[in-house]
Point group: C2
Chain length 333, copies 2
DNA sequence: TTGAAAGCGCTAACAC
DNA sequence: GTGTTAGCGCTTTCAA
């Protein structure tokens, strides 16, 4: 039977309880619990025994209050079920741990109220990093005074930001597809028709610069099912397509499913490329060629920036970092 | 320019600094910061202005110390890059948030020292849940006194546990494959040849009970690449195979890749099934039939149990819960 | 080797 | 409506 459950209803033991039980001062308990020098072995053991007996756990609040040493980064993601976010989260956790920081995780997709979710997070964390589903104005309200780094900030401006611009890499992708022999590439973008995404624009521009006019089909959302539907629409509109550049790897997976269903060989008949460089791209067959971004670098940039803001080495507003994509050729092209 | 960065080197403002700056008592600052009643609007605004000016952020330690209200569950996963863990993490975060708890995340795969990683986590969290890569003995050392629930505990015994036994569902899977016409199914297990996994045994038993003797091939690890290699070995050893039951969805994805490479149609020539019910199974084509487990239920069970242990309603040792798998038929069979 | 005193930042309870 | 007091649990002095 556990000590805790053997004393039902009793409040958690404090350092004083242990001190009394062991017949020593609080300070001696501290010394015993924290492996500090200057305590006789026998005393230490006695204290430890008392602590165990009472199921004593030092309060992290008491501890945190005195030694300002327990630091936490709040990570906001949309939805861990979306294969993109775990890769980011994994990298952020690693970066944070390396610096001795903890990570508390908040997921906006499943939250009733984004606003209060982030507000709560801001109270538990020393800095906030990630993808809050908030406007600049909202973010400013909720996060006033909290070092905040938005990842992939796009048009947002409040706080610090890490940009992942596809930039030059899109040129490499265009070159690659053309070298592979594509003559009639099509862009499978995301969003409303007529409103190309930044990525989409970048691809169109890169192709145009190479003398190729690329038609666009738009999937409704960045989801797998939209990818399927979008690719089907694309095949209908452009039956002679020989390469598809997609908004991201998830949409590309959807497109790959649609192509399989339609009996179209990839990359034999149609070459297919994604964007983001998700590990997911290696689970499908053929493996996805993609414009990859180094998530480790993104996380390092974001965590590093947030911590610098926390340390006051960088202003809370305006810091920017950039991480480049690079062409990752796999089997689908 | 931010208030913080405009006062470089100064320690963070405390409630006292704000009180002095606004010419009020600490208590009034508390009232203003926490939207408490009994404060004149004008005073409140003055206090808030002072707080903003000083970049004041209430210390969560001071707060936590007085109102015992800030609770945290520590979640241990192996590696978020493994598609299994994000699904668990997502569900745990949701379950925890519903109860007003935070989640701090620890990832063992990328940690130099598992032991101290978990030890640290135990200091930051009120309960620990997940997959620590520790023996029972180690767990007991590190987590002494901390409510701890191991998910998928297998042979472990320390602390509480949530079991995900494949049980009856494996019978459904066997029935399903046989109904679909399979006569020469093969098990693609994981681990050392001759040492079938619990899941593997369960499948063999279910098939044996139906009068079918199933040969086994073992993949080295639970990874994608092992799945590919294992499936290739399987095809070589059993060229007439007509159905493959795999250890889990990840291995199944690997097998699917190998089958595609080999020009084997799924499910036309070979039916393929996985286990776990990962969302990943919907990204591949054909989508994977699988023995799914409801991660929401697993998370609920684990978090609920841990919180009950924390509340002293359940002993720290010996609590068990069980979540059943169920057959999820998709296109691969 | 041990203990006593002081204080970390905050809020609940009670005065005024 | 506002201030005062007390105390949350811990560790860092400093003294014995």
């Amino acid at each position: 039977m556990s000590p805790r459950s053997s004393r039902p209803g009793s409040r958690p033991a404090t350092i004083i309880d242990v001190a009394e039980a062991a017949g020593v001062s609080r300070q001696t308990v501290t010394r015993a619990m924290n492996d500090m020098p200057g305590i006789k072995e026998a005393t230490k053991e006695r204290v430890l025994a008392a602590a165990k007996e009472l199921a004593y756990r030092p309060s992290r609040f008491g501890r945190g209050l005195v030694g300002h040493t327990q630091r936490t980064v709040g990570l906001v993601v949309d939805d861990l079920m979306n294969p993109y976010y775990p890769e980011l989260a994994s990298a952020v956790v690693s970066s944070a741990r390396e610096r001795g920081w903890n990570v508390v995780l908040a997921q906006t997709a499943k939250a009733a109220d984004q606003y209060s979710l982030i507000a709560d997070l801001a109270k538990q964390a020393d800095v906030v990093v990630g993808y809050p589903a908030l406007t600049d104005t909202q973010a400013q309200e909720v996060l006033a005074g909290v070092p905040f780094v938005r990842i992939d900030m796009g048009e947002y401006t409040y706080g610090g930001g890490v940009q992942m611009d596809v930039g030059d890499a899109m040129g490499d992708m265009a070159d690659h597809l053309l070298e592979r022999g594509s003559r009639r590439p099509v862009l499978l973008d995301v969003g409303l028709p007529g409103f190309p995404s930044a990525r989409g624009k970048s691809f169109l521009a890169a192709m145009a610069a190479r003398g190729v006019q690329v038609p666009t089909v738009s999937a409704a959302t960045k989801s797998l099912s939209s990818g399927v539907a979008g690719a089907n629409a694309l095949l209908e509109a452009h039956p002679d397509v020989d390469a598809i550049m997609t908004f991201n790897d998830i949409v590309a997976c959807g497109a790959l499913k649609a192509l399989h269903e339609a009996g179209v060989d990839v990359p034999g008949q149609v070459r297919l490329a994604g964007c983001d460089g998700l590990n997911l791209g290696r689970f499908v067959s053929p493996e996805l060629t993609t414009l990859a971004v180094d998530m480790g670098a993104v996380a390092e940039a974001a965590v590093g920036m947030a911590l610098a803001m926390y340390a006051g080495e960088v202003p809370l507003q305006g810091a920017r970092a950039q991480v480049a994509h690079h062409l990752l050729v796999r089997a689908s092209t």
